[in-house]
Amino acid sequence: MTGSKPLHSVVCIKQVPDSAQIRVHPVTNTIMRQGVPTIINPFDLFALEEALRLRDRLGGSVTVLCMGPMTAEDSLRKALTFGADRAVLLSDRYFAGSDTLATSYALSMALEQIGRTFGTPDVVFTGKQTIDGDTAQVGPGIARRLGYNQLTYISKIRELDPAAGVLTVERRAEGGTQVLETRLPVLITMLEGTNEMRRGGIDTALAAAKAEVTIWNAAAVGIEDLTRCGLRGSPTIVKKVFAPSARSEKAVMIPVEGTPYESARAVIEAMFARLPDVEAQLLETAAQSAY
C-alpha cells in the first residue's frame, strides 16, 4: 500500500447458532437449529474490534463481509451498529453446505470483488475459529488464495506503519508471546479475549439502521465454476453427528445447617464418606507433618 491511500480493513464474520441454546432432538438425535437464536461468531467480534481500533488510530474504513443466508443481514447490521463502515452479504443457494474449502474459495472471490468495488483490502481479519465448526481453516485458506501474508492466533496489533506497509503483532504461542512483523497485505486471525467490543454511539446506531447492506450472489463476485461452491465443492464429509452421552456421575447435594463450623464439618464428613482413600491419605499426611 502507498502512504496516500486510506487503510482498508475487511472483517469476515459468520452468523452462527447461539451454541448455548442449541438442543439435540430427544427422539431423532439431530441438532435442532430451528428457532435457535443466531449470533455473530464470538471470535469474530475480537477481530472486528481490532479493525475498528486500527481505523481509530490511522483512519480509513472497515468493511464487514459475511457469507450466509439472507437472514445473516441481521448480523451484518449489528456489526455496522458497532461501528463498521459498510457491509457485504455474500448469499446464494449454491453456497449451501460449504465446507472450509468451498467457504474460503467463495470468501476470497468476494474479497477480490470488494477490492474492485471499494478498494483493495490491506488487512483481512477473521476470528480464530467459529463456534459451530471449530476448524480454524477458513482464514488461512483465504490468505493462501489471495496471496496475502498470514498471521494466526494474534492477540494484539502493536503497530501498523502505513508508509512502510509494515505490521507488528503479538502472537500467542506455547510458552510465551511472539512478536512478529510482516508486510501488508496481510490476513490476521484474532484470538479471543484480546479486547472488548465497543458500543456504538447514537449517530453510529442511526447510520447503521439506515445503511444498505450490499448483497452479492455467486455471479456478482465473478464465480463461474459453481462446482467449487456449496456441497459440490466440499470434499469434507460429516460421517456422524451425535450427542455425547450424559456423564454417569451425578452432582451430589449435601444438606447442611447450623454454624459455619458445623456446616464445613458436615461437608467434609460427607466427602470423606464417599472418598475414604482421600481421607486416609490426608490423615496420613497430617500425622506425618505433626511430628
Partner: protein
C-alpha cells in the same frame, strides 16, 4: 438542553419507545402513512424481551396488516377452548370445539412471540421506519414549557428530537414512570406470570389433543392451582411445542409463601395436566408481569408531545386474557391520531392529542375494560371463595353426582346443596352471585 445541542440532534416526525405489539402497530401505521419514524427497542430484536407462547387475536392485526396470514409466523389456529375449574385432583371443564373455527380466515392463533414480533417489526422497517435495537430510552427531553420534544438514550451522543413520543414500553415502563407521566405499578394491580415451552413432536400433540393439521387447543384453568391466590393457569398448543404457565397478583405472592415457580411445578404435576406434557422437553422458561388493574388503573394517556399505548397504559383485559390485541389497537389509534395531526399541521399538544382517548372510547378496548371495571376488586377481595372454596365444591359436587354407589339421586342432590350452604352460607352465596353479576354487567 442548549440550542447547539438541539441543532446537532437527529430529528424525526415521531419516536416510538418499544417494539412489542403496541409499538410495532404504532410505528408501522405512522411509517406506512409517510411519517419519518424512529422506533427504539432495548432488546436485541423485537420480541427478544418477550415471554414466548401467546394467543394472537386476528381482528386487531387484520385492521393493520390485512394480509398478515400469508406471511406472519403463526403456529396453530384455535378450534377448541377448554375452561377448567380445578381442585387438587380433578377438573370440571367446559369445552367448546367447533369446525366453524376451521374457516378461511381463522379468528385466533397460537404464536411464539419472539418469532411473531420479529416478523411484525420487519414490516415496520419495510414500511420505512428507522429501528434501533439494543438501545434503551433513558429519559424524555422537554422544552421550557414542559412539552416533550425528544428522548435521550443510553448511547453516547445528542438527544433525538421529535414533536411526539409514543410510549409503548410495556407494563413496567420506566420512562413514563420516571418522568412522572404515570404512577409506579402497584402490587395489587399487576400479576406475575411464569411460563415454559415444552417441546413435543407434532404427531404427539395432534394425537394427545385430538387435532389435525394446524388445529390448536387452548386450556384456561382456575382453582386450587393458585393456592388461594388471585390468578389463572393456561396451556396452549403450538406447532411443535406446548406453552404452559400460571400467574397470580403480585401482592398475593408477597402475602403467601408461594413462589411462581413452585406453583408452575405443581400445575404441571396436576393429574389433569401431567399426561398432556408427558415425554416433553423444556425449551424455555420465562417470567413476565401483566397489568391487571383494568379500567380503574388506566393512567393519563396523553399530554403535550406524548401518548401511551399497550401494557404501559394498562390495556389488558384480564378476564378474557386479551392483551396484544388491545396493545395493537391502542397503538394503531395513537398512530392514526398523530398522522391526522401531522397532515393538518397541527401541534402535538395535549388538547389535540386528546382525540386519541376520545377515539379509544368508541372501541372495544374501553368498552370491555369499563364493563369489567369491578372484576379485579371482586376477585381479589373474594379470592378465598373464587380460587379455593368454589372450585373445591364444584369438584366434590361432580364426584358425588357421577359416582354410582347405591346412594339415591335425591340424597346426592341434598348433599351437594348442603355442602355449598355449609361452606359459604346462603347469604355468602347470594352475595357472591350478586357481586359477580354486578361486576360482570
Amino acid at each position: 438542553m442548549s440550542e447547539t445541542e438541539q441543532d446537532a440532534s437527529p430529528r424525526f416526525d415521531a419516536i416510538v419507545v418499544g417494539a412489542g405489539p403496541s409499538g410495532n402497530a404504532a410505528a408501522y401505521v405512522m411509517a406506512r402513512e409517510g411519517l419519518n419514524v424512529l422506533q427504539i427497542e432495548r432488546g436485541e430484536y423485537s420480541g427478544s424481551k418477550n415471554v414466548q407462547g401467546a394467543i394472537l387475536y386476528a381482528d386487531a392485526l387484520e385492521k393493520i396488516i390485512p394480509e398478515f396470514r400469508d406471511e406472519a409466523p403463526l403456529e396453530r389456529h384455535v378450534i377448541e377452548q377448554r375452561i377448567w375449574t380445578m381442585d387438587d385432583r380433578s377438573h370440571t371443564g367446559v369445552h367448546y370445539r367447533s369446525d366453524d373455527f376451521n374457516e378461511e380466515k381463522p379468528n385466533r392463533y397460537t404464536i411464539l412471540r419472539a418469532q411473531f414480533d420479529k416478523w411484525f417489526n420487519s414490516r415496520v422497517r419495510d414500511a420505512g421506519a428507522t429501528v434501533l435495537f439494543e438501545t434503551t430510552v433513558t429519559e424524555l427531553v422537554r422544552d421550557l414549557s414542559g412539552k416533550v420534544i425528544g428522548v435521550r438514550t443510553d448511547r453516547s451522543g445528542n438527544p433525538i428530537m421529535a414533536p411526539v413520543v409514543v410510549l409503548a414500553e410495556g407494563v413496567n415502563g420506566l420512562v413514563g414512570q420516571r418522568s412522572g407521566l404515570r404512577e409506579e405499578l402497584k402490587p395489587d394491580t399487576v400479576a406475575l406470570a411464569v411460563k415454559e415451552m415444552h417441546f413435543l413432536p407434532r404427531e404427539v400433540i395432534e394425537a394427545r389433543f385430538n387435532l389435525q393439521g394446524n388445529e390448536g387447543v387452548v386450556i384456561e384453568a382456575m382453582g386450587t392451582i393458585t393456592k388461594g391466590m388471585t390468578g389463572t393457569g393456561f396451556l396452549y398448543t403450538n406447532e411443535e411445542s406446548i406453552s404452559i404457565g400460571i400467574g397470580c397478583i403480585v401482592e398475593d405472592f408477597v402475602d403467601s409463601a408461594e413462589t411462581p415457580y413452585g406453583l408452575l411445578e405443581a400445575f404441571k404435576n396436576h393429574p389433569s395436566i401431567k399426561p398432556l406434557l408427558a415425554g416433553s422437553e423444556i425449551k424455555e422458561y420465562a417470567a413476565h408481569l401483566i397489568p391487571e388493574g383494568g379500567y380503574r388503573a388506566i393512567p393519563q394517556l396523553y399530554g403535550d408531545g406524548w401518548l401511551v399505548v399497550g401494557d404501559a397504559g394498562q390495556f389488558v383485559n384480564a378476564v378474557h386474557r386479551e392483551g396484544s390485541n388491545l396493545a395493537m389497537t391502542t397503538g394503531r389509534i395513537a398512530a392514526e391520531t398523530v398522522v391526522m395531526l401531522t397532515r393538518k399541521r397541527e401541534a402535538m399538544s395535549a388538547a389535540n392529542l386528546a382525540a386519541f382517548a376520545r377515539r379509544l372510547e368508541e372501541t372495544f378496548v374501553m368498552k370491555d375494560l369499563r364493563k369489567y371495571k369491578g372484576i379485579p376488586n371482586l376477585l381479589h377481595g373474594g379470592k378465598a371463595q373464587f380460587f379455593g372454596t368454589y372450585p373445591r365444591l364444584i369438584s366434590q359436587a361432580m364426584q358425588t353426582w357421577f359416582r354410582v354407589d347405591g346412594v339415591d339421586k335425591k340424597t346426592k342432590e341434598n348433599a351437594i346443596a348442603r355442602s355449598f350452604r355449609e361452606a359459604r352460607g346462603w347469604r355468602g352465596m347470594i352475595g357472591d352471585t350478586f357481586r359477580l353479576v354486578r361486576a360482570w354487567r
